[in-house]
């Protein structure tokens, strides 16, 4: 059986803007990955639980509400506690430049900001995930 990269796309926090998350999810699927989309209002706990359940290599978080500094570090932390730090955490949304540096320090692998083509996300995942 063909092994595919498995990705969880999640909307974290109360933000309801899911156009980007759905487009990323569909693009990754079209690029041959297995994608699970969580829908809205996921807590860090829920996201990590689903990621482990679904045995993904990548978690892609979408957050446009400005709550990212409160949501991403707990996700990274809970993955660490579950000994799942090998799962790559990516973030997409409206993220100020200064926060990107901090987020990467806490363990977010990459942050994709407005204007990023889906091809860049696909390429990044393919280059950074080893099956």
């Amino acid at each position: 059986m063909d092994k595919r990269i498995r990705v969880l796309v999640a909307k974290a926090g109360l933000d309801g803007h899911d156009r980007g998350a759905k487009i990323i999810a569909q693009s990754l699927r079209d690029a041959g990955m297995e994608v699970i989309y969580t829908g809205l209002r996921q807590t860090p706990e829920q996201i990590v639980k689903t990621a482990l359940q679904e045995d993904v290599q990548v978690i892609g978080i979408s957050c446009l509400s400005g709550a990212h500094m409160h949501l991403l570090p707990p996700i990274v932390q809970k993955l660490k506690e579950s000994e799942a730090s090998d799962i790559m955490v990516l973030l997409g949304g409206v993220i100020p430049a200064e926060d990107i540096t901090d987020l990467k320090k806490t363990g977010v692998k990459e942050v994709f900001t407005p204007g990023t083509p889906t091809s860049r996300v696909i390429e990044f995942i393919k280059n950074n995930v080893q099956l």
């Binding site: 899911d18 759905k22 693009s27 989309y37 400005g66 949501l71 407005p114």
Partner: protein, 557 residues
């Protein structure tokens, strides 16, 4: 046009097409095919031949007369400009009150409140899900105490206020009524709008709380309550803006909006209200997106469609029931993080299309909004954009100035036809709520969003700064930042409110609300009583969550 001249024109047109075909073989056009964002073909040019059977009185009418294609008032902006109403809100009530005063001082003519996500979803700032979200996308409102600060020094009998609030709209409306009362302004005197449009929350915006049936009950309660107690209030702002932002095209935007409108009218009639008792106070909210002429035609088509729906389908007799009045916001999703100054031009043209389309009220986005909430400097430019359109360039001096253009009337007709097809399809599915349950609306929106993204990434759709005329640039350094102490301050305020109020009274009215929610009583009086005793938003919504349950999202993927 007489038959002889019509034949002459047809012949001439045919000759012209042949000659131009030759011309194009040497001087090709920029594209094989030109289309609007809804994939409607844009011809090389338009002539009377494109308006076969056009009847002015039937399709346009005079301004302020059925079917209102040309506008809902006879004088439109010659009498009064559209309301310049900038959506604003961040942090605590103090910060937002200051921004409101700044905008009013700079010449805006109406208020528009942005609430933070916990408020929009019925959670107090001390709820665990509110962490990190307090005051971020709008102002944090936990109780009447916050509302009092929000409107401090703002005379609610002199300025109208629109509140972008949906699931907890009844509570915010009650708070607004209570604040006005404290100012000595009666509910009969206040004017404004609550968005109160839950159907679009389920498909495009996501700040739902309760399931559809219970949400409709709250909405029709508001219609009924306001029709007698708050007559100058727009009880709903049936929205296409967010549907468009989620990825729909112009045709889908008005089709899905009017289908939702139909659902609300049906629900209200089913609840025992007479159409003419509530329909005059329905209002709408549309997007001003990229394709200039398509947007102008879209608004005109929407007005004509709604007028006919209200008259023919619902038997409305009051002309006010047939008038589609709307607010417009320039499309946020069109803004780029790259070369943000270019957004100023995008917003200017979008705003112009809304004015030429006859909007009643307008919000213009700020240039930095792909990156942050607007700072004072950029929101000033956005407001001045409207003021230039109003006061300098003359477009407000004649009603519906583009009417009669062969292109405009043909495109208006085409948008109307295609929107009507969607409305029929949704009717066949059993109406908008059923179509949402089934996932039809969501799929249409998603598919179009994906198509659009593909067209940008293939460079078919040009976005300057993103896929054309790209430059090396650093992000702006003067973006609006939220004071990190905001959350703490808000939590302290909330604590204060809870300590200083009469807890027994609050418990008693929450209990009364709970019992009423289980029955069929109009909930507005109960909610009013609760907010006046400083029951918090979270407490009131908590009661309703207990009785109504919560909406279970449908994941269409």
């Amino acid at each position: 046009m007489g038959d002889v001249r019509k034949k002459a024109l047809a012949d001439q047109y045919g000759n012209w097409e042949k000659k131009t075909h030759k011309f194009v073989s040497k001087r090709p056009e920029r594209k094989e095919k030109f289309t609007t964002e809804s994939n409607i073909t844009i011809q090389r040019t338009y002539t009377p031949l494109d308006l076969e059977g056009f009847d002015y009185l039937d399709q346009l009418g005079m301004p302020g007369e059925y079917p209102y294609t040309r506008g809902v008032q006879p004088t439109m902006y010659r009498g009064r400009y559209w309301t310049m109403r900038q959506y604003a809100g961040f942090g605590t009530a103090e910060e937002t009150n200051a921004r409101f005063k700044y905008l009013l001082k700079q010449g805006q003519t109406g208020l528009s409140v942005a609430f933070d996500l916990p408020t929009q979803i019925g959670y107090d700032s001390d709820h665990y899900l509110a962490m990190g979200e307090i005051g971020k996308v709008g102002v944090a409102i936990d109780s009447l105490a916050d509302m009092e600060i929000l409107f401090d020094g703002i005379p609610l009998d002199k300025v109208s206020c629109s509140m972008t609030i949906n699931a907890p709209a009844a509570i915010l409306l009650a708070m607004y009524i209570a604040v006005a009362e404290k100012q000595g302004v009666s509910a009969g005197q206040i004017s404004g709008t609550i968005q109160n449009d839950i159907l679009k929350e389920y498909v495009a915006r996501g700040t739902y709380i309760f399931p559809p049936k219970e949400s409709m009950k709250l909405i029709t309660d508001i219609f009924a309550y306001c029709s007698t107690n708050v007559p100058n209030w727009n009880t709903i702002s049936i929205s296409g803006y967010h549907i468009r932002e989620a990825g729909a095209n112009a045709v889908q935007e008005i089709a899905f909006t009017l289908a939702n409108g139909i659902a609300y009218v049906e629900a209200a009639v089913k609840a025992g209200l007479d159409v003419d008792d509530f329909a005059p106070r329905l209002s709408f909210f549309f997007n001003a997106h990229t394709n200039f002429f398509e947007e102008v035609c879209k608004y005109r088509a929407a007005r004509r469609l709604w007028a006919r729906i209200m008259k023919e389908r619902f038997g409305a007799r009051d002309p006010k029931s047939m008038m589609l009045r709307f607010h417009t916001q320039t499309g946020g999703s069109t803004l780029t993080a790259q070369q943000p100054d270019v957004n100023i031009m995008r917003v200017a043209y979008q705003a112009l299309s809304a004015v030429l389309g006859g909007t009643q009220s307008l919000h213009t986005n700020s240039k930095d909004e792909a990156l942050a909430l607007p700072n004072e400097h950029s929101v000033l430019i956005a407001l001045r954009t409207q003021q230039v359109i109003a006061e300098e360039i003359g477009v407000a001096d004649s009603v519906d100035p583009l009417a009669g253009s062969y292109f405009i009337e043909k495109l208006t007709n085409e948008i109307e036809e295609q929107a009507m097809e969607y409305i029929k399809k949704i009717d066949e599915l059993g109406g908008s709520p059923k179509a949402i349950e089934e996932g039809f609306i969501q799929r249409e929106i998603q598919d179009n969003a994906y198509k659009y993204q593909r067209s940008v990434e293939s460079n078919e759709k040009v976005v300057i700064g993103v896929n054309k005329y790209v430059i090396d640039e650093k992000p702006p350094t003067d973006l609006q930042k939220l004071d990190p102490e905001i959350a703490q301050r808000q939590l302290q305020k909330l604590q204060g409110v809870k300590s200083n109020r009469d807890s027994q009274k609050v418990t008693a009215c929450l209990e009364r609300l709970k019992e009423a929610a289980k029955g069929t009583d109009n909930l507005m009086p109960y909610i009013l009583e609760a907010v006046k005793d400083y029951a918090t938003l979270g407490e009131i919504c908590g009661v309703l969550r207990g009785v109504y349950g919560e909406y279970e999202q449908r994941i269409n993927f």
